[in-house]
Symmetry: C2
Subunit: 331 residues, 2 copies
Amino acid sequence: MSDVARVAGVSKMTVSRVLAGHRVADKTRERVRQAIDKLGYVADAAAGALSSGRSEFVAVLVPSLSSSNFSDTVRGLTTVLEPHGLQLLLGDTDYELDREERLVRSLLRHQPRCIALTGAQHTDATRKLLERSGIPVVEMWDLPTNPIDTAVGFSNVRAARAMVRHLAERGYQRIGFLGGASALDTRGLDRLKGYRAEIKALGLGEPRVVRLGDSPITMSHGAPAMAALLAQWPDTDAVMCVSDMSAFGAIMECHRRGLSVPGDMAVAGFGNFEVAECCHPRITSVSVDPYGIGLRTGEALLAALEARDAGTEAASQSIRIEFEIVARESA
Amino acid sequence: MSDVARVAGVSKMTVSRVLAGHRVADKTRERVRQAIDKLGYVADAAAGALSSGRSEFVAVLVPSLSSSNFSDTVRGLTTVLEPHGLQLLLGDTDYELDREERLVRSLLRHQPRCIALTGAQHTDATRKLLERSGIPVVEMWDLPTNPIDTAVGFSNVRAARAMVRHLAERGYQRIGFLGGASALDTRGLDRLKGYRAEIKALGLGEPRVVRLGDSPITMSHGAPAMAALLAQWPDTDAVMCVSDMSAFGAIMECHRRGLSVPGDMAVAGFGNFEVAECCHPRITSVSVDPYGIGLRTGEALLAALEARDAGTEAASQSIRIEFEIVARESA
DNA sequence: TTGAAAGCGCTACCAA
DNA sequence: TTGGTAGCGCTTTCAA
């Protein structure tokens, strides 16, 4: 920066002002601009952050980047935050709370302005770190009973119950559930919980649950899960899956066995992924708007930052994202 | 850090050493550790970076995070780099060179130790920025004729040619191509180029090309593209798609029209996505190992950093990733 | 509208 | 094995 200042014949301060967009005489600004171009100067963000006490980082934690769910949420966040000059600092927890804790610790070192994480479950240490950090926190994809700060999500339990009701209304009586085996995917577990609750509420007999595969649940989990379900409960007439991915795999397994969907077996998914709309038959699913979760989270973070700048503390709130049963051919 | 030092009864320097893992007497280290825990101290990475002149950042640019291709590459990078305490700084170019340039400029401000970008095509300004930055650069997913520094990828042209040959060997004569309309997805364009070249080399008549949809090409692009192809060239007997995603959509469209795959229409994909293995019929594809590209890129970056630390300049090289035709039922 | 000085929190370097 | 000092490149603050 001194070099630029020397070349432009001004002080470092003026260069700094030009970069920050503060008021500077047009002629001066022009000279500084030229010096910057000539030297190929790139300001050092670390020095700026240190000096001003504020970084341009927003920390974001998702369980997995390979799931389109969360990458869509990240896209939503980027859309909102990037125009404000904020840079995402992304971490991938792999559905492990310990990893989440390590990542929070490591990301916090960069003094992010705020942080968004996925889910309501965290280690005690994570919670403590976040509370101590003093920055706005958003928990996404769930509505915690005891949020750290702000939450943006929906009740996976209720969404799953709604899907069971949908199947029951269509006349299915022997409804199974295909989920993941992981004890860490709390959103998946909540869906299972919702399934059990609604099966019980409707008096549809014993739950028929197959849990198989690590999160994120992918297409390859659906076929073996469907096979296991049929082996144990051959008279099942409908199945709801923890994700459209496994629903797709399950439908393919039905086709392989010559079972028609939904004639012999109705199959419902969750998440309204693209495959649900593209495959044949199209999959009945729960639409949950991952991109919208990202947008709303970004907006909540910006609001919290603005409130902070204005000296007022933003009231933390829980923002409910609507879900919707999308009825298609498969169930 | 002064607080920690005071509580532990040592100097700031000793605290710094404990954090950096340098040699410190066990007893001292223990006292410092306790002080850190007691105060909930989190070191400021920006100050550290400024002072030491080296950040812990690795900048990574991908065209899209929603494509499993690139998120797998990112996973590979994380796997290699995280154990070395390096933090990814991720940017999403949306297949736009201008956006790439803006992102490079913005990421460079954080003084990353090295940078990985996708593809061989960049604006002049981007190239200049990267060259001036003086940090190791890796271009991924392609083998540029004129690489900036190191490259890790494969020839999309040759991979596409191999697929056309595969189809021709199976006896297909009237082979179409379904690709995206974007002029920015150079990997997609290279595949198209390979298709044209091989069709010509084999004397298979006029190319039958449908270009439709923005990158990243998804499942929803396949059906309309297949429809357009059949409208213009009804006697087509095989089609190769720029991605397994569109191949899947194309197959679904065939099913809807009562065309059997591969009996009436053979369909080949590209990328060996999960859907290729899970759907029915399973899709013949080109396997290209996105995760491996991430791993090798990470290793190349580490090697360059180590060489730099040792004072030797690492020779930039082009690392070829093998691709492979995976023959399945669809073609 | 511009400049000078002080200092952000840490690490490199040299001294003890 | 530990401590003191200087300074990384910027922004804040106040003065001109």
